[in-house]
């Protein structure tokens, strides 16, 4: 059963596009952070948010969130290819979205600080008495940082309109979750903060979306944050070049059978919402769209040495506000 066929089809398209974009990025760069198998978390989390809501997607799978917020693929690729026309003009590790789309940038390479920054956008939303909310996602590895504890505790204490989503993919580079924590379920950590903790099947995009939307409703109504653990799996290595030889093939194989896109597709097919031909067309279109956008971006101008931006450090010039 698909409650809302339109929504199911839309999220299917976003996940397929995410996969196509991710595969292409992996081919482009050995250092890319692959998101294959985890698409349901960013798509299910950030689908359906309002333009005045703030999105702070974790770095694994974030480009599809940029596209969902309105960035064209032709604008995504220049950043990924290190072209001058990219939003960060070569200053950012990977790429980012324009701030006016209310997608928080990943400012530095360390993990965790964005959780309190997202708590800060939620603070601003409450300060201004708006009913906008913030959603932030991050990995299970990041949830072991002090940043997580301080931010979630503060967001809970001040009942801020925010949804914290742990994209639990079981691996922090080579560190398996069970060695990183004695907690059985990361959602249980919510108890310590006095907020609801929800564990959800992170490979079921409809379930992720429903759980996040429920948390969004709570946040909009002024009831404060929710902690959601979406359990998924990192199907590839930490980066495209990582063969992940440190983990068992059996574990990967087991998760292969739970692919989030195939699972949704089967449901859509069974419900008669999508035909096999239409499904194929979605995959073909996504691949084509990604390829064309990349080809177009390759013709964009390269970064120049002057793009270092020596005199763009400060906003207010020295000598007076």
């Amino acid at each position: 059963m698909i409650e809302d066929p339109k929504q199911g089809l839309a999220m299917h398209r976003w996940m397929v596009l995410s996969r196509a974009l991710d595969e292409a990025c992996c081919q482009e760069s050995a250092h890319w952070f692959p998101s294959r198998g985890e698409e349901a978390v960013p798509v299910g989390t950030f689908y359906g948010l309002r333009p005045d809501d703030v999105c702070a997607p974790g770095d694994r799978g974030s480009p599809i969130v940029f596209v969902m917020r309105g960035v064209a693929l032709t604008q995504v690729w220049p950043g990924a290819l290190g072209k001058r026309t990219g939003f960060g003009r070569g200053r950012h590790f990977s790429f980012t979205a324009p701030i006016e789309l209310r997608v928080l940038p990943y400012i530095a390479g360390d993990l965790g600080p964005i959780i309190s920054q997202a708590t800060g956008t939620a603070f601003a939303q409450k300060y201004r008495k708006s009913d906008a909310v913030t959603a932030v996602s991050f990995g299970d590895g990041t949830s072991n940082r002090g940043d997580f504890h301080e931010a979630v505790n503060l967001g809970a204490a001040w009942r801020l309109p925010i949804v914290y989503v742990i994209q639990n993919n079981h691996w922090a580079i080579s560190m398996p979750l069970e060695k990183a924590t004695a907690a059985k379920r990361l959602a249980d950590r919510a108890i310590g903060y006095g907020i609801p903790g929800v564990a959800v099947d992170g490979n079921d995009v409809l379930a992720v979306h429903a759980a996040v939307q429920e948390a969004v409703r709570r946040a909009r109504a002024g009831h404060g944050p929710t902690l959601i653990e979406a359990e998924t799996f990192r199907m590839r290595g930490h980066i495209a070049a990582d063969t992940a030889s440190y983990r068992s093939a059996a574990q990967v194989e087991e998760w292969q059978g739970r692919d989030p896109i195939r699972r949704l597709e089967e449901r859509l097919l069974a419900a008669g919402v999508l035909s096999a031909e239409e499904a194929q067309a979605v995959w073909a279109e996504a691949a084509q769209e990604v390829g064309e956008a990349k080809a177009a971006a390759q013709r964009h101008p390269d970064i120049l040495p002057t793009d270092l931006g020596l005199d763009e450090i400060f906003s207010t010039p020295l000598g007076g506000a």
Binding site: D110, P113, S116, T119, G120, A124, A321
Partner: protein, 328 residues
Amino acid sequence: MPARRMTFVEALVEGIREEMRRDPNVFVLGQDIGPFGGSLRSTLGLWEEFGPARIFDTPISESAAAGLCIGAALEGLRPILDISFGEFLPSAMPQLVLHAPVVHWLTLGKARVPLTIRTKVGEGPYGGHPQCFEAWFAHVPGLKVVMPSTPADAKGLMKSAIRDDDPVLFFEHMYLYHGVRDMVPDGEHLVPIGRADVKRPGKDVTVAATAWMVHRALQAAHQFAAEGVEVEVLDLRTLAPLDVAGLLASVRKTGRLVVAHEAWKIGGLGAEVAATVAEQGFGYLKAPVVRVGAPHTPVPAHPTIRRAFLPDAQDVTNAVRAVLKYSA
């Protein structure tokens, strides 16, 4: 402009109060800054005037508070973060050095972080948490670092910091807090960020100093005047970016430079000041540059060894005598 006599901390709070009245986007957060009035009265009276809608007591979570400020600033607010003491700055380091200073540059100027971070450092009657870490922050591109020495500069720089669209780290010296009282202009008194100030003119030696060391340098200058030696006391006020032009202008005049700060001498800001003059003003120098700073030990607790640790007016005097030995 009419002026009133007030302490350093009263001047700081007046600057904040005026900016909060002027702009509803300005708010203050930190530990014990509400009904408690702030550690060492750093926010006294603000809670009574602005209440819980603008003044936010945080849990002991410096890092989350700093990150929250960045997010709030990205949404257009202008936070003032009160980090009670400089000793707590390391807890918020990723937000302060990796994140806040980078945003403007990273987003090609589309996003800004108009954030003022104030913190107390240095020796004082209270005796606790005196770590002076300002040089760490002056090292980081994208941060403005200020450290005033007088009530008037404290107010004027605070107002400029709050109106500035970049993150400004505001170091407030604990001895000066209640220990210095002086005239402070009413109302619209803005001291520009990035400008040093000659607190006492002189032609023989420049002492470039910060915070309490400015007062110790003035003390030394007063004594030298009796000997016919004119010491120019240059208050750096802004540590990052340094007022290189102001520094060079003073050294061009005097030909001799002593740099004095309470922080450790090794790797301190004095090293940057000395190197800048060596690179850009070597021709003006009649003597080697001498630095005054704390010895390289952790800050001790007991008053006896604390006195041995802290640079004082005598250290400035000794340094001035050392550079005077070299004739033109």
